[in-house]
Amino acid sequence: MNIEPLARLKTEWFERFNRILSHNEAIPYSNLKCLELCEASCCPRIGMRQMPSEKIASAIVVLLPFEMEYLIEKSGASRTLFRVWPVDLTPDLRIEIGMFDLGKPCPFLQDNRMCGIHEHNPLDCRTFPLLPSLSPSDELEWVLGDNCPSLAFLNPVFSEKIKLIWQDLEPALPRTWWDLYSFADHWTGWSQSQPEELTRAD
C-alpha cells in the first residue's frame, strides 16, 4: 500500500471539508421542516424500511473519500461504527469509504431524532433530499428524494449552493466512488445467514 499518496489525498480532502464547513454559514437555510414534519426519515436506523431482518438494506449514507476519517477526527467516533467499503484508485492504491446503512445505523442519530454532529455532518446528509449522480457521459445529474416529507418547502437557493459544492468536488471524485454511491439504494448488504446480532449497531 502506498502510504505517501494516501497521506497526500487525505490532506487534500481534509482541506476540502474544512473549506466546505467554513462556508457553511454562507449556505442558505434549507427550509426543510425536519423536526416538525419528519422523524428522521432519511437517517439510517433499524426500522426505517419495511424489510425482513435477514434482508437488511442498504447503504443509505455514503461518505466522501476520507470523510469518515474527518468525522472520526472531529467527533472522536470509533472507526468500528462505520461500514467501510473499498474503492481502488490505482492497482496499488485502495481507500476505504465509510457508510451508514441498516446493518450499521447512524451512530450520531440521537434519541430525540437530532443529529449529534450537525455542525460537521456528512455532505451526503446535508445534501438530501437532493440526490446527485454521475451519468454514463460523466455529467452531474440531480433528482429529488421524494420520500422527504418537507420536499415542498425546499429552498431553491439552498439547492443551488449545494449543487455548486458538488460541482467543485466532482473532478476529485473517482468514478468508482460514484459507482458505489449509485449502488447504495440497491444494496441488500447481508446474506440470509448473517447472524442477527450483526444487524444492530456496534
Binding site: 472507526r79 481502488d88 492497482p91 476505504e96 459507482d179 449502488f183
Partner: protein
C-alpha cells in the same frame, strides 16, 4: 417477448448449436479475429455450443453468430446459471467496422430475452439480468488501453449496467474442465475486474439486489470455486464483516 432474430442494418442472429454445427468453425474463426489474445479459449466456445456440457454442470450455454450483408460480423457467448435467476455474459464481440451502429445494444437486449426464456425453462419466474466481468480502466498499462477500457465500461453503463461494489478477481478458467489443461493456461494470471450487472426489466425494478447471490453464482456455479476459496472470501469480506 420473443427473440428478434433480425437486428439493425439487416443483421441476422444465428444460434450455433451442437458440435457438428457448420457455424461452429465460423464462430471460432471470427472469435480468433476479434479476440486474438484469447485464442486459447476456443475449446470453451466449442463446449458452449453444446448448450449443456459436463464441464459446465450449472450453466446452460449459448453461442450466437451475427451476420450482416453476407458477412459474419459478431459473436455472442453467454450462459444462464441454472441454479440462480441470472446469467453470465462471457463474450460480446463485433468486427471493427460493424461497431457503433446499435448491434451491441440489440445483442444485449436479445441476451436478456433469451435468459428470461431460460429462466422459465428452469422453473424461475424470470431472469434479473446477467453478470459480466469488465476490465478496470485503472489497470490499463497504456493510455490507449485505458481509453478502450473506459469506452467498454461506458457501453455497459449505457446499457443500464450497474457496477457492483465488490472486489472481484476473474479466475483464469472454470475449474476442472476437461477441454483445456492447466498447462495450457499456465502463462495466465487471474485479473481484477469490475463485476457489472446488466439488469433485465425485472432486475431494474428490484429495490434491493443480493450481492452475495451474485458473487456465489459466478464464483461457485460458473467458475466452480469452493466457497472457502480466497477469491470468494475476498469479494464478500467487506460485505460480511466490514473492514478486512
Amino acid at each position: 417477448m420473443p427473440i428478434e432474430f433480425l437486428g439493425p442494418g439487416g443483421a441476422i442472429l444465428h444460434e450455433v448449436k451442437g458440435s457438428d454445427s457448420p457455424l461452429l468453425e465460423i464462430s471460432c474463426n471470427l472469435f480468433t479475429g476479434i479476440f486474438p489474445e484469447d485464442q486459447r479459449y476456443i475449446p470453451y466456445i466449442r463446449a458452449c455450443a453444446q448448450g449443456t456440457h459436463p464441464s459446465h454442470p450449472n450453466t446452460y450455454d449459448h453461442v450466437w453468430l451475427i451476420e450482416q450483408g453476407c458477412e459474419w460480423v459478431g459473436i455472442r457467448i453467454f450462459s444462464y446459471i441454472k441454479t440462480r435467476n441470472f446469467g453470465h455474459g462471457a463474450y460480446i464481440g463485433l468486427t471493427p467496422k460493424s461497431r457503433g451502429h446499435g448491434l451491441g445494444t440489440w445483442l444485449v437486449q436479445q441476451t436478456l430475452t433469451q435468459l428470461d426464456d431460460d429462466a422459465l425453462q428452469f422453473g424461475r419466474d424470470g431472469a434479473v439480468g446477467y453478470l459480466i466481468e469488465v476490465e478496470r480502466p485503472i489497470d490499463a498499462e497504456t493510455e490507449i488501453e485505458r481509453h478502450h477500457a473506459e469506452k467498454r465500461l461506458q457501453f455497459h453503463r449505457l446499457c443500464g449496467g450497474i457496477v457492483l461494489p465488490v472486489p472481484f478477481i476473474e479466475p483464469v478458467m472454470i475449474e476442472g474442465v476437461d477441454y483445456i489443461s492447466p498447462v495450457e493456461l499456465q502463462a495466465e494470471s487471474p485479473r481484477p475486474m469490475h463485476l457489472v450487472l446488466i439488469p433485465s426489466a425485472l432486475g431494474a425494478s428490484l429495490p434491493n439486489l443480493d450481492l452475495v447471490d451474485f458473487v456465489h453464482g459466478l464464483y461457485l456455479d460458473v467458475y466452480r470455486l469452493p466457497i472457502e476459496h480466497v477469491f470468494v472470501q475476498n469479494s464478500l469480506s467487506y460485505l460480511m464483516g466490514g473492514s478486512k
